[in-house]
Symmetry: C2
Subunit: 329 residues, 2 copies
């Protein structure tokens, strides 16, 4: 569905009353009758806060279905909570809407949010709508909770740790490329495109990792780039074996030589899988939680003393990378 | 200062490290080394959450000084907390930056934020930066705290209540008009322009109102429009006497006939004063807290049974309004 210029523009309050108030299901959202939401945590809980925005034609395409735009905006935030082991509570939504964006687009966008709210058991808590002369922009602040001190941070990686990643990487970047080249109708493309449009926040795995992982991050910029962030703030060196980087069947069928695809997949981004490090003696626990959560978890590297990040070929030699991952700037 | 096209574009991480990490002064912000912030509240506290965005050429002007743009983005959010009686804690900042926005603009923007962080004793907690092909957009989610159940909501106005407003209204709208007409250099214009650029969140008054007000709102859309929101969700009628609407000396000197100016001021918006209702027997307390906080507080109307909002002339007749206040849509 594209945005319809011919539709009558809804007033801000009409828009909120019709499409967003029904999403404010939690008591503390006050039915969006106030400018604020109220939240009370049980004792012994830490609040986990994250903010991520998606901008049309930067982080999503104007031709993406509006319901998946809403879902993607929400899920990239839930993915941040997942990587910390947090349980999501709710979110605040700030929407900058271009003049050509009609009510049917907003309705479908809100329907996508409603679907994911039920799926992830969360509520809209508040937000803001404003007009913009620029691209549609969805800024979300998501809130989660975790037992005090239980959040898995980026700073805890230790030399000797093994490095793992959930699921597969690289699908979303190829899915986006297929959309941009208008080849999304090709056989096998759908699996890749849907990975671009609908990331799967690994909330269940994240919760289980609280007692397992030393450090964790969700992969938005790329496996190499994001493990690079862990290496930097944990003050360690991380090496990744390119040949172990997990690829989906869809991606293997779609792409050329395996090693080249793995390198590309490791530096592409938009995967929203969790990369984490843990002590080698947790290997059995990692296997058990992969079985329990039905998500593949692959060992891809290790943590060493030193600094920096390296992607190694099958002979253990560092691969020269043009880029580590996606960057906005 | 205008944005400089000639400057080298900073990378996202450089930008964050140089200008935003120094703003992450609270422990829970994790120095912006993670994608999340952690927050622990004392027992018996409610978290108060609000989100407001400002968009270039909608909510601020491209010619506004970058430090006041940062301050305004923050203060419109703090104003929401003020009206609830909450004490601010911190904020998450999502910044969508056009390609022509250079490092010196961002530096000055961050300096404005730093100044207000010290003033209001708050910390940056997290956020996101992204590129946009559209106007510069600053989306903030602010967090505050209040004793459990102490937040002043919009729903508590009762028939018989008196209606008050802090400070003066109407300055900001005229300040904006002067800027748009390029008449900001005129004598007396500065006081009006600075009210547009730098709203004063009434945090001290708001804290004191916790044990006084039945309902409160900060005035962003306009005195009449915002008291209309209280009337609607409290299911009461509110009447405002136009002749009591408080105007600054600067506005009275600038504008024409008093009553016309008062009507305009009551429907203009961008004031960020607090309008509240309370029992008539709290009149002495209201006077005392005005003295204590050194902010004028003016009785402007009353709450009645019924529904809707009315602005009355000096003879008590309803004034026909073309609009109740500012609207984005």
């Amino acid at each position: 569905m594209t945005r319809l210029r011919s539709e009558r523009a809804l007033g801000e309050f009409e828009l909120i009353a019709r499409y967003f108030s029904p999403l404010a299901t939690s008591h503390g959202a006050l039915g969006l009758t106030d400018d604020v939401a109220l939240l009370r945590l049980r004792a012994g809980r830490d609040l986990v806060l994250t903010a991520d925005a998606i901008v049309e034609d930067v982080d999503f395409l104007g031709t993406d279905p509006p319901d998946t735009v809403g879902q993607k905006a929400l899920r990239v935030n839930l993915s941040d909570l997942a990587a910390k082991g947090a349980k999501p509570i709710g979110y605040l939504l700030t929407l900058a809407i271009p003049a050509d964006c009609g009510a049917s687009w907003i309705k479908a966008f809100a329907a996508g949010l409603a679907r994911d709210q039920r799926r992830f058991k969360i509520s809209l808590l508040g937000g803001d709508t404003t007009r913009t002369s620029g691209p549609l922009t969805v800024a979300i602040t998501a809130l989660g909770e975790v037992g005090s001190g239980d959040a898995i941070l980026r700073t805890g990686a230790r030399p000797g740790d093994h490095v793992y990643v959930t699921g597969n990487v690289g699908d979303a970047a190829v899915g986006l490329e297929l959309l941009r080249r208008k080849r999304a109708a090709r056989k096998g493309a759908n699996a890749l495109v849907s990975r671009y449009r609908l990331p799967q926040p690994r909330l269940d795995v994240g919760r289980e990792l609280r007692r397992v992982a030393h450090a964790a991050i969700d992969i938005s910029d790329g496996l190499v780039a994001d493990l690079g962030h862990i290496a930097e703030v944990s003050r360690v060196r991380i090496v990744i074996d390119a040949w172990r980087v997990p690829l989906s069947v869809a991606l293997r069928n779609h792409c050329g030589p395996m090693e080249k695809t793995q390198i590309r997949a490791a530096t592409a981004g938009d995967d929203y899988e969790i990369a984490f490090t843990c002590s080698p003696d947790k290997a059995a626990k990692v296997r058990a939680l992969a079985r329990k959560s039905r998500v593949a978890i692959t060992e891809v590297g290790r943590v060493e003393k030193g600094s920096g990040i390296a992607l190694l070929d099958a002979r253990g030699r560092p691969i020269r990378l043009e880029k580590r991952g996606y960057t906005h700037f």
